[in-house]
Amino acid sequence: MRWVIRTPSGDREFEVERRPDGLFRVVDGERERLVDLVRLNGSLSSMRCTEDHRSWKVLAHREGRHWRIGLWRGDVALEVLSPAEAVEAESTAAGSGSATVKAPIPGKVVAVKVAEGDAVEPGQPLVVLEAMKMENELVAERAGTVRAVHVGAGETVDAGTALVEIGE
C-alpha cells in the first residue's frame, strides 16, 4: 500500500506491505525497513525496526487523515494520504486565497476588534473570546483584508464557529 506522509518538514512517500510473518515491509525510496509493529491497549502500539533495533512506544491518535503520533521525545502531527489525495490536497491549499478564523474553543465573544474592509497585519487582534476564566485574543495569522465578520460582542459560540474571514 502506498502512502504519502505529510510531516512538518515535508512529504515522504512509503510503500508498505504486511508480510505473512506479521512484520511490515516499509520502502522509502531505495531504503527498505522491516518493522515489527504490535497494537496494544487502545491507542498504544509498540514498534521496532529490525535492522537497527530502534524501538518505540507509540501513542497514535487519528481523526480522519490527521494523525498525532506521540513518541518519547514529543508529539508529531502528520497527515496520511493516498498518493491521489496528496496531489489533490496540494492544489487546494495553493489555490486558496482566503482564510476563515474559527473559534478554537467554545466561549463568549467579549469584543470584536475589526470590521469588514479593515486591513490586518499578522498578529493583529481580531476577536477577544472568554473561556475558562481567561480572555483569549484571537489574532490574524497572515496579512490581508477583513472580508466578513460573523459574530458580535456578547454572543456565545461553539468550537469551530467561523468568526472572521480574511482575504487578500
Binding site: 508498505v16 504486511r18 497494537r39 514498534m47 518505540w56 494523525w67 514529543g74 474553543i105 476564566k133
Partner: protein, 509 residues
Amino acid sequence: MSGTHKLLVANRGEIAVRIIRACREMGIDTVAVYSEADRTAPHVLMADQAVPIGPAPAAESYLRGERIVEAALATGAELVHPGYGFLAENAGFARMVEEAGLTWVGPPAKVIELMGSKTEARKVAVEAGAPVIPGLNDPVSDPAQLEAFAAEHGYPLLLKAVAGGGGKGMRRVDGPDELLPAFERARSEGKAYFGDDRVFVERLLVRPRHIEVQVVADAHGAAVFVGERECSIQRRHQKVVEESPSPVVDGALRERLGEAALAVTRASGYRSVGTVEMLMDEDGSFFFLEMNTRLQVEHPVTEMVYGVDLVREQIRIALGEPLSWRQDELVPRGHAVECRIYAEDPLRGFAPSPGTIEHLTEPSGPGVRVDSGVLPGGTVPLDYDPMVAKLVVWAADRGTAIERLRRALGEYRIDGIATTLPLFRMLVDDPDFRAGRIHTGFLDRLLEGERAEALRRGPDAETEEAAAIAAACLATLEAGRLPDDPWAHAGERSWWEEGLRILHGRFPR
C-alpha cells in the same frame, strides 16, 4: 474504621484530591462538594461523602458559600478546607464558616481581609520593616492619577485589580498610548472575575524574579519559614513553572528573605500556612509584593525539598496543635521543579482546550510526583481553571532535577486534549532556563523567538521519521480491515472502532 474528625473540601480538581489524600493519612473523613459538571470527577470519587451544590458555573456552585456551609452541617463535617482559588481568600466565607460553628482551615477572617487588600497589606509590610515597591497606596479612581504616577516613576507600570490574583486582572503598560486601554481591561477583568473593578498601580521592575517565601504559623505564637520558591517562569502573569530553592538565593539571602517574610507574617497576626510574595531585582534587592493567605498551588516543591507535608500541617494547626518543627530543623535538601500542566494549546496561543481525556499515562519512578485532578476517560470542563495536573520532580541538584524533568515529560502522555506538555519539553532544553537565567518575562520572550517555531515544528528529525513510519504501518493495518476503501471516513469506520465509539458515547464520563 471511621476517623475522629470530618473535613469538607470546598474545592475541586487536583487540590481537592491533594487535601483528601492528606486527610486519609490523618484518619480524617472527607466530604467533597461538586457542581453538575463534576458529578464523576476524581475528588467526588475519592471522598467518603459528596454533596452536589449547583450547576456548572462556579458562581452557581463552588462560589456559593452558603451551600457549602449547608453541606458541611448536613454531613457533620467540623472542618472546612478551601484549597486555593474560589473562596480560599474570601474573608466573608471564612467568617460564614466560623459563624456556623465550623473550623476554617486557614488564617482568621480578619487576616484574610487585611492581607487581601493590597493597600492594607502594603501598610502592614511597611510597618513590619519589609521593603515595598513604589506605587500608589490607594486604588486609582481617575486616569489622571495614573498619568501623574507615570510622570513621576516612568514606564513600565503595572496595573492590578484590587481583588485580583493568579494573573487575572493584571496589565503591563509600556507607554502612554497603552495606559487607558490597559486600565479599561484591568477594570473589566476585575469586575468580571472578582466583582470589583478597582485597580491599583505600581512601578514594574523590568526583568524581576518572582520569589516567594513559605511561612507557617500556629495558634500558639510560633512561626517558621520553609525556604523560598522561584516562580519566575510565567505566562500572562500566571505561574507555569516553579522551583525550590531559587537558583539565585544563597543561605544568607534566604535568611534575609525569611526574616522579612516572618516579620510580615507576625505583624498581620497570621495563623496557618501562607506565602509572602516578593519581587527581586537583578541586583538581589527584593520588595514585598503581596501575601497569599492560603495554601499555594506550588506547595509541593517546598514539601519535597524540606521533607514536610504542608497540607497536613495546615490541618493540624487548624485543630489547634503546635507547629511540628523548629526553624533549625527545616533544612533544604536537593532541588525540586514543578510544571503546571494546563489544558491549553501552546500552538494556538494557549487557547483553552477542554474535552475528554482519551489516554493518560503519568510518569513515576524515582523523584517524580504527580498531583493530578483528572482520570483517563474523564472530561476537562470548560467552566473552571484549565490546570489538569502538576508534575513535580526532585533530585540532588538543579541540573539533575531538570534532566529528571525531561525524562518524566517523555513518559507523560495526555491524549484527547491539547496541553502545555510540549512547551515544557522545549523548556528543559533551553540554555537560559538550564542556566537559571530566568525572569518573569522569560517565557513570553521565549515564545516570541525562533523557539516558538521549533515548538510548531515538533521534535527532532529522527523522531519525526519514526512517527512517519508508525503512521504508515498503522494506516496499512487499519486499511487492511476495509477491503474496498482503505479510508475510514465518519460513516465507514470498521465495526470495532464504531463499537468502541458508541461504547464511549453511551456512558457519561
